[in-house]
Symmetry: C2
Subunit: 107 residues, 2 copies
Amino acid sequence: MGATKLNLYTDDINTIAKIAKVFAHPARVAILQYISKQQSCICNDIVDEIGLSQPTISQHLKVINDAGLLKGNFEGNSLCYCLDIERFQTFQSLINAFFNQTKSNCC
Amino acid sequence: MGATKLNLYTDDINTIAKIAKVFAHPARVAILQYISKQQSCICNDIVDEIGLSQPTISQHLKVINDAGLLKGNFEGNSLCYCLDIERFQTFQSLINAFFNQTKSNCC
DNA sequence: TTTATATATCGTAATATTGCAATATTACTA
DNA sequence: TAGTAATATTGCAATATTACGATATATAAA
């Protein structure tokens, strides 16, 4: 009990759910938006920008990163995060495919 | 501790997260897909279709319904659920606006 | 090497989500 | 009105997520 029964669903369905989970917390939406606004891909002023602790931000970044949405490299002694646009685009396409298919089928 | 600090974020950000949450569980993705496939908006063979118990499906339906995505009306003694396409379309538009804005801003 | 700064990880408490059995409710039918 | 089928609600156990303090690790500069 309590755990999601992933085996009940098709891979496609699990993929959509997994993608949606990344955006299902406002901190992660805010982080993505903030990263995109910094032309030069600046790093952890995210902690200052959003009002969460450094470990919490780091945890959310890990979720975003595990989804493959980040490219990070060091600039000086600080980490420079950048959105992986291609991957982001893939997510958008998959989500749109789900929406389009679902609504076109419906009564 | 533990609870999401919604007050830290703009309404737009919280809206995106809330929408994403609906799709962040495979059962709900599957339910939406299944409902859309039934031309005649058929009801709780969802329970048979997906392998979850009736109360669990009902709970997921409630989440989807609370998001405003369902139109339900009784047909005989069974409930006929139907996707609210307009609302669904609104969700799609909002998500796409987020994606487009985020990726166009980025480095 | 020491020091300072930036980021990640660990451990843990608080809260949320998932799933189901039992039960209640609703709507039809006899 | 009693019985039946469909759906919702309640209560609870298992698990996941969120958040943070403490600490570890990594990089740069002194």
